[in-house]
Amino acid sequence: MYVELRSPNIHEPASMTEYNNTIVNYRGTTPFLWAGGTEIMSEPDFYPALRGNMEIISLDRIEELHHFLRNDRYAEFGAMVSINEIAQAGKLVLPKILLDTINGTATRTIRERITIGGSLCTRRFKTALASTLMILDAAVELRYMKKRMHSKWFQISRIYDKDGRLDVPAGALLSKVRIAIQQYDYQYLRSVGSPVKDPCDACTLAMVARFEQNSISYARLIFTLPDRGFCYSRDLDNMITSMQLPVNISRYAQIENFVIDHIREGFADLSPLREDRLRGMIHDMIKDINERVLSYTGRDVDRFNG
């Protein structure tokens, strides 16, 4: 049935030097960078491919991309480390919200194939992992070709444009991800719907915060709409930090409306189902903050981390 199709060329560099040579040799074409392949393989028209002369660079054999290291301040993972390995290696040190995001991403069988680099570079949908890493101020190392190979560290939020599309130089390789090791007083993650099966109505809310007596001194809040991108802004963070705790029930609707209007401004329209889901998430989050604040004695910070 597929006999006449041209088989794509597969390049499997074993080191970054070989990768650089491959990129130089194929300058002018746009090779596919192949990490875990879960997103590419789940595209409906992936096989038989309609594209001719496809060049695939599989990153699996590059040893450097499988490394990870940790010190007192941060953990650094190569782009080809699977998210399951990250959850297992960082069980005791990484922020709980990150571990929850990874565990909620898929079943273990799939997680073993999803790489951290691949999940940050998805094209069809945006993952909750990317947004969680954004609020944790993670950074990524990009390697890209100018006259020669360059590498530079960027905050994760800077590798996406305002619509959530990946905005990196053509042929750039995301090689490392650096995550700061720090815990927060409050970490909240709520995900509804599957970004793969239901990208138009799925949404995720992630928030980290630090408390100071009856107020929030630091907050980062982000919404992920898999088909549209990420919604985060200083306005939302300021709205959270300006809340007097515990939040009065009469203010719930006001906060929900503020956030929904803000998301609408950024993403044009929301489907009724998605709006309902977002309202529910915000409501639950405020309720959860109230519960934590009312039961907080000021001594046991660990209680905030669930």
Binding site: M1, Y47, T109, R113
Partner: protein, 165 residues
Amino acid sequence: MRIEVTIDGKFLALSLSSDKPLNLLLIDEMGTRSIRNSCRGGMCGNCIVLLDGKAVLSCLVPAFEIRERTIMTFEGFSRTRDYRDIEKAYAACDMHPCEACHASRTLLIESIVRRHEMAASDFDEAEILQESALIDCHCMDSAGFVEVVREALANRRKRKNVRRA
């Protein structure tokens, strides 16, 4: 592209398109009947095979990734002694998966059992519950799935005489 691979214990050299998904490869080249290609990468979970002993969705694995690796399909696995442990577990729990998901569910259970058979601690029930959602079929409830895994694990440990701390 020429690929050398071991499928169900047979060493094969195949010439095929490098991006062909493993499930199509098995259906077209090997005539495997236990695998379905209903979702085309939509993660329905009905195309599980064991790749180097670990369960994978074969629709998400391209041909170039299986070079020099070992694949076990349900056809091959059902001829092994390990399969008897799972078959007994189905019977003991009185849970029998439907024809559509029997092969994938069995290989998924085998993968979980292999992961835990030598472990000192008991398995994480929440993780197994999540794993049960991988197969998009409602013939067996999640609690039943966990029960079968537990029983299969006990059978395996008993047969291999694994002593736990």
